[in-house]
């Protein structure tokens, strides 16, 4: 099934999820309990909303409407990541079984771990390599927005360690590298003196 870039695999949109967080309105409220992609999206939007309001005292709708390029980039990437994506195999103890996880669940995990790092927000998250083949070398490419004033090297080192542990715990991927690129340094507003 093909979907537009603005529409998630379930037919809903990131804008609808954002509106739901702002107003509580959603066309099909029951869907939010049964759709893992929408729930992953809501988690990401909540973290973004928190980060956005902490930095700029502005709400997510304002940020997403175009006033902040870094937030716009994150939202654009979220639209792509909130899909099941490729199927990642897991080892099975019975030859009749087929055990897998979605690429979307792993991307959401990477985003969650990254967003829990103080002063950092995940931008683009990609798994480079054929994740559908067991043992294939995979590189995690992560674009990061960081708040000015946080120690970049320390954050990146700690984040790489945390991501490595999370991916080892939740996947059987052969992670060859975790490449972190700081693409945005967010200059938090200073108090007027």
């Amino acid at each position: 099934m093909s979907t537009s870039h603005d529409t998630l695999g379930c037919g809903h949109t990131l804008e609808e999820l954002s509106l739901y967080l702002d107003t509580g309105d959603f066309p099909d409220p029951g869907h939010l309990d049964s759709c893992p992609e929408c729930r992953n999206g809501l988690d990401s939007l909540r973290r973004l909303s928190t980060a956005g309001s902490e930095l700029f005292s502005s709400d997510l709708a304002d940020a997403g409407s175009g006033s902040d390029d870094w937030m716009k980039n994150i939202l654009a990437n979220l639209k792509l990541e909130l899909r099941p994506g490729r199927t990642i195999p897991l080892r099975s103890e019975d030859p009749l079984d087929r055990l897998t996880e979605t690429e979307g669940s792993v991307l959401a995990l990477v985003r969650s771990v990254t967003d829990s790092t103080p002063g950092a927000v995940a931008g683009k998250v990609r798994l480079e390599g054929d994740v559908t083949v067991p043992g294939e070398a995979i590189t995690v490419n992560l674009d990061l927005a960081v708040v000015f004033g946080h120690p970049l090297l320390g954050s990146a080192t700690a984040l790489r360690r945390d991501l490595g542990e999370a991916l080892a715990r939740h996947t059987e991927l052969n992670i060859a590298a975790i490449d972190i690129t700081i693409t945005d340094v967010i200059d938090a507003p200073r108090e007027e003196s």
């Binding site: 869907h31 988690d43 103890e93 019975d94 009749l96 079984d97 087929r98 055990l99 897998t100 792993v106």
Partner: protein, 121 residues
Amino acid sequence: MTVPAQPAHGREDTTDSTAADALRAVVLGVDGVTAVFPSRPLWQRLPAGALSLLQGGAADAEDGPLVEGGGTGPLQVTVRLGVSDSARTPDVVRAVASAVRGHLAPAEVSVSVTVARISAK
């Protein structure tokens, strides 16, 4: 849709639904499982729903594990779930497959488990 139960005459719908609920409870009872999602994404569900109606099964294929098959091959069980980020996802998935197989024993079962969400809750 086929759910391996032995319904009393005239009570197939209720028993099918009960069997599906029981299977869902088995999956949710595995440590580390946080949610059981519809076994197929929304855009894949309509054919399954139509099949269920045609076969007279009332168990809701949209709410949890999907059981298909019968005949000469193994039962096909499809589960889509969420896993706690404090668990180890591969272990949880294998435990789910084992629990489903144990629940449906002695039937020959092929279990398909997909993790769609890894989160704190």
